[in-house]
Symmetry: C2
Subunit: 469 residues, 2 copies
């Protein structure tokens, strides 16, 4: 276990740095403390009463034990692991892989100890066919992890039905059991029935844990463990953070301060929340965050049923790449954003920049410096430029990127989301607005008893040539 | 040459569909026509007078000839092509590759005719080291395309200096000429000097064309042509669109209507512009668009120097993936977004969904259907759900994704950006706000004569432990 802790740094959102119009004053922070503190207690109480089951995942040794046993049983049999899932059944898996395995993991066999990992969270025909063409002769050495609580998610069901046919056609019906792992509801649902019928190896999507809060369950842990990620350390990091975000002293609770600052800026016209990792490894955690934040906090009604149409829009921007794409807007466009940088102080590997050619002495300032120094200087430089334009900036500081710090980060943002939901007075755990689109898809795909809806959508979808150019 | 044309469909932004509060009325559209039409003429005039050189790129046969000759000369010698560039020197390259080559291009040698393509637009040490470790024994068969107008972009310069040392150390100084292609200013600058000194093979970043408008020059065309993309067809598509976006009848000019609609919604409180491709192939064109839109339209001052702090925030969301991440927010959060879907009517490959397991007849509605039908039904369903929530939606309809339609798309959005800049009354071709960050990076990396700035940033960057938790 590492002792690397992540830290939240928030001086650069204060009036002292970005001025009175765009910063948080000490008095306002004190007000926010007064508003937030009781919500921390309330959240702790809800958690103790079992109403926030995601909070207990890092302590559930049964789950990690099951995952490790399953991995031990099948590890070595497979060269490829294909996760079929979408949303909360994919973004955490992708984020863990990018964060904790080498960039060239899939391409360079010397850089991996586990199977190649592919996560399919879409139903794009040319993309899927390109993959299947490559997979052809490797099917025997491939295991599929189908992840869906219900099994009725159209995308995952469609992928599964294609893979099932492929396995039956190529390797015979009896191959299904050995080549599919189902992560699903322990008791009911379509995938549960299929898994029972085929006697599949299974992991559980825990009860009462929404997809976007499920990465520290079998949903996210299985592919991670298969690919050699230290899931014990990941969970230990989350437990460490649990201690810090349970504390009822606002000023010592990073989730509380983070939630309160985000709440404040949303309410003062900064409705866009940009997460900007200065680390390729942390890149896809920003996509995981995008779902967590958008789906949890984007709500039409508050807890007593009044229309509020609330929700900050999360945006992912990668440092330094997006400096050359977005920073012009971020500095000179409307001051409507709160920035959260992710900064890594120590890279586990670094490389020296070579000498400058003799004919270009103007590049000497880079010669012999570490690339990591350049990356972190770019972060400091960009933050400096944003602060000059009075744009508020938070930073999450990673001493280093490892399973322990990533576990902390995940848990920090989950609890930040719970507290932000409490501050906004909305339910952060539901997602009522996604149902209509699902029903509409069922209808368009010809599901019986949905003909009326199908006709309604078709008429809306019919192209009116007066508006087509 | 294909005759597949892309189309803009805009009925679903009108009052007829999304209502009076959130839609555009026929009268308002007429007003916008009145405002925009003279700007089309003015833009055409500026273009004729040579002040908008990106407009002429698709007609410049010299460029494509140079690119094709260079490709013919070195094609076959290399198994790997590595582009070193950032921002406008990378996003177009990545977008073309994702759009027009198979998903498994780099991994499956049966699915590519050209070299593997890697585009490095960051300076992340673990990422770059992972790549170099893999590359080790393959260096001999690798060509590097360094893309920078000035050669002083820190990221690209640093990468180049690392690669230069590697080539000298492993293959000898004389290997530089054969393994590096420079795309840079034809006359001056750091990379120009280096290229002349080493007698490198070169392509030009054309005069007066900003990075974000340069994809149809040597910047974007070389890696595309190396990887087997039909650049003639790409340029032909752009020329086809040029005809359509030059027309001075507002109602027949897709760039004018697109710009006017975007302008209208920004001014009525919808300051976020979401591009949502329902096609993996079109995914990275949304990142290319993000730069084009943000850097061109995010401006502090209008053309007469008044402070305006204008700029829509572009957001990329991928269908169907992001339905399961963002649509809850998009439907129930603030009505502050304009949506632009990219829809593909015909996929060049498609696949049938298999039968449902006997125990799960509830999945029968998917059985035997095409995956492409599912993807397009999801698009229709999501748009339907957004319209039910009165969120305005545009669609760019691709008959199919090929070089011809992608060329059209690129040119459509470039000219849309020019016209939107004219409507917002700002200069869409500069990027004054990125300079400070560049200077600050130089200073922090120890460039001489920048010590004062370095000290200023360092003092701001020093962590104040009162705000660290």
């Amino acid at each position: 276990m590492s002792d690397s802790e992540i830290r939240l740094y928030y001086k650069n959102v204060t009036t002292e740095v970005v001025g009175g119009e765009h910063g948080i004053s000490p008095e306002r922070l004190q007000e926010l403390a007064g508003k937030t503190s009781p919500l921390i207690s309330k959240l702790n109480e809800e958690r103790r009463s079992g109403r926030i089951p995601y909070r207990d995942l890092p302590f559930n040794t049964k789950i990690s034990q099951q995952v490790k046993e399953l991995v031990a049983r099948i590890d070595g049999d497979f060269e490829n692991l294909v996760v079929l899932g979408i949303g909360g059944s994919a973004l955490g898996n992708i984020a863990l892989q990018t964060a904790l395995n080498p960039y060239m993991y899939n391409i360079d066999e010397n850089q991996r100890s586990g199977p190649r990992l592919f996560v399919f969270d879409n139903v794009d025909p040319p993309q899927f066919i390109s993959f299947l063409e490559w997979l052809g002769p490797k099917l025997e050495k491939t295991v599929f992890n189908v992840v869906s609580k219900s099994g009725r998610t159209s995308e995952t069901a469609a992928q599964f039905m294609i893979i099932r046919k492929l396995l039956i056609d190529k390797l015979g019906r009896e191959s299904l059991r050995g080549h599919i792992v189902a992560t699903t509801d322990p008791k009911e649902g379509t995938l549960r029935k299929i898994a029972d019928d085929l006697n599949l190896q299974c992991l559980e999507v825990p009860d009462g844990v929404g997809g976007r809060f499920s990465v520290l369950s079998g949903v996210g842990l299985f592919s991670a463990a298969m690919c050699g990620i230290d899931i014990d350390s990941l969970l230990a990091g989350a437990r460490d953070m649990d201690r810090r975000v349970s504390g009822e002293d606002f000023y010592k609770n990073p989730a509380a301060i983070n939630a309160a600052i985000n709440f404040h800026f949303y309410n003062t016209g900064k409705k866009i929340s940009v997460m900007m990792p200065y680390s390729y490894a942390l890149r896809d955690l920003a996509d995981w965050y995008r779902q967590l934040w958008a789906e949890s906090l984007g709500k039409k009604e508050n807890k007593v049923g009044n229309e509020v149409f609330i929700g900050p829009t999360p945006v992912k921007a990668l440092g330094t790449t997006d400096q050359h794409s977005q920073v012009q807007l971020y500095r000179e466009g409307p001051n409507d954003k709160l920035f959260t940088f992710l900064e890594v102080q120590n890279f586990d590997k670094d490389i020296n920049i070579g000498t400058a050619p003799d004919c270009a002495p103007e590049l000497n300032f880079l010669a012999g410096k570490k690339m990591g120094m350049l990356l972190n200087s770019e972060k400091k430089a960009t933050e400096y430029a944003l602060l000059e334009s009075k744009r508020p900036c938070l930073t999450i500081i990673f001493d280093k990127v490892d399973a322990y710090s990533v576990g902390q980060f995940i848990y920090l943002y989950e609890v930040t989301t719970s507290l932000a939901g409490a501050l906004f007075d909305i339910n952060p755990y539901d997602q009522p607005a996604v149902e209509l689109g699902k029903e509409a898809t069922f209808a368009l795909m010809g599901k019986s008893d949905q003909e009326d809806l199908a006709r309604q959508i078709q008429s809306l979808s019919e192209v009116d040539s007066n508006y087509l150019i």
